[in-house]
């Protein structure tokens, strides 16, 4: 029971963040994490952020995403 996805925080409104990955966005609760800022990457499970990714992990996620979108024709 562990399906969770790294996603980037694009906006924060109180305890709820707008998070996106690959062009898909959802709302994620921030009840379980502290000190999250716009631009951070968080792991999202069942609509809640459960951890903020370390800078290295975030950088790797970003590079995977960039490679993915570059490999796409449109």
């Amino acid at each position: 029971m562990c399906l969770a996805t790294p996603m980037r925080v694009t906006a924060i409104d109180g305890q709820v963040a707008r998070v996106e990955s690959g062009g898909v966005a959802i709302d994620a609760g921030l009840d379980l994490v502290d000190d999250v800022a716009v631009g951070d990457y968080v792991i999202v499970h069942a609509g809640y952020a459960i951890q903020r990714l370390s800078a290295d992990e975030a950088a790797e996620t970003l590079s995977i995403l960039q490679r993915l979108s570059e490999s796409w024709p449109d």
């Binding site: 029971m1 399906l3 898909v24 709302d27 796409w72 024709p73």
Partner: protein, 328 residues
């Protein structure tokens, strides 16, 4: 036993319904071909019902879906569409403005394809008996003697191509539904693929089989062709064209893009030495810009196999029924 949503999802249960309940009662050679469009003399005939909710989704609407779907079924057997019919079942309370929009959408697709909607019927049912509007379309086309793709023409060594990205339609529709709040670049790919078929034909590509993957995704279509042709189809996970947004949405919900519905794509099987020609032909069309070669027919036991990113191989089975998001 009762009918459940899984029976309509296009996977194994849908198949069982046809095999165990319909075929035994409706025996005839045309039906038993079980292809998208049946051959009756030199005509191809097909019918389909469209009940998707919501009726309007990013990239299209129920009207477009209804006409494209039936036209696509006709051209998959190499037929030239001649005419369409439309049956409407409308729920009391549906707004006329919305109905006009749906009909406008149907008319636009039919007009662009050059195929008249020649006959129609309308019924209205009480509030609650239909989800706004259900559309059934039927289509008639003329078969060509010299261009009749069908599974029994598939040969070992054939290349398998897909005309573009997988899973667009299913994820776009799912994103609209209640309880799954995905927003973003998810758009249905609903489209009439007749132009792609014409392009392949004009380029002289020897097309062995064609299929437009709809419910059950590319997986279902490939499994069906493999079974009908009695061949082993092997596809490479790394070669599957999937848009980043669809990939993300599938990952979030725990779904496999191979099983997610499409509505504007075709899969074709061509001789190995024509794969490049077929690919460049597809890519030369607007709808085929993201076309890719995804696999080949290999000797071995019939079925569909996936060569995974990890370098292993595994079977791809029929989807089990309704696609359910998961968190595990």
């Amino acid at each position: 036993m009762t009918i459940t949503l899984a029976h309509g999802a296009g996977g194994r249960l849908s198949q069982q319904l046809v095999q165990d309940h319909f075929l035994p009662r409706l025996r005839n050679p045309a039906l038993e071909e079980l292809t998208d469009a049946a051959s009756v003399g030199d005509l191809a005939v097909t019918t389909d019902g469209y009940v998707v909710s919501p009726r309007f989704f990013p990239g299209g609407d129920l009207g477009q879906l209804a006409v494209c779907g039936t036209l696509n079924d006709l051209v998959m057997s190499g037929a030239v569409p001649i005419a369409l019919t439309v049956g409407l079942i409308l729920e009391e309370g549906l707004s006329l403005a919305e109905l006009d929009q749906l009909v406008d959408s149907m008319a636009a697709v039919a007009r662009d394809a050059g195929v008249p909607i020649a006959a129609g019927d309308t019924k209205v049912v009480p509030r609650g008996s239909a989800d706004g509007a259900f559309i059934t379309t039927a289509g008639v086309g003329r078969l060509s003697a010299d261009f009749h793709p069908r599974p029994n023409r598939v040969r070992a060594g054939d290349a398998v191509l897909v005309s573009g990205s997988l899973g667009d339609h299913g994820m776009a529709v799912m994103a609209c539904r209640e309880g799954l709040p995905l927003e973003g670049e998810l758009r249905s790919d609903v489209a009439y693929v007749g132009g792609l078929v014409d392009a392949l034909r004009a380029a002289g590509v020897e097309v062995h089989a064609l299929r437009d993957p709809t419910r059950g995704g590319a997986a279902q279509s490939l499994i069906e062709i493999a079974a009908a042709a009695g061949v082993r189809v092997v596809i490479a996970e790394d070669s599957l064209p999937i848009r980043p947004a669809v990939r993300s949405a599938c990952e979030l919900l725990g779904l496999d893009p191979l099983y997610v519905a499409n509505e504007g794509k075709l899969i074709c099987f061509v001789p190995a030495d024509q794969a490049d020609l077929a690919l460049s032909t597809l890519r030369g069309s607007a709808l085929g810009a993201a076309a890719a070669t995804i696999g080949r027919v290999e000797p071995g036991r019939p079925g569909l196999e996936l060569a995974t990113t990890l370098g292993a191989r595994r079977s791809v089975r029929m989807p089990q029924g309704e696609l359910l998001p998961r968190i595990c």
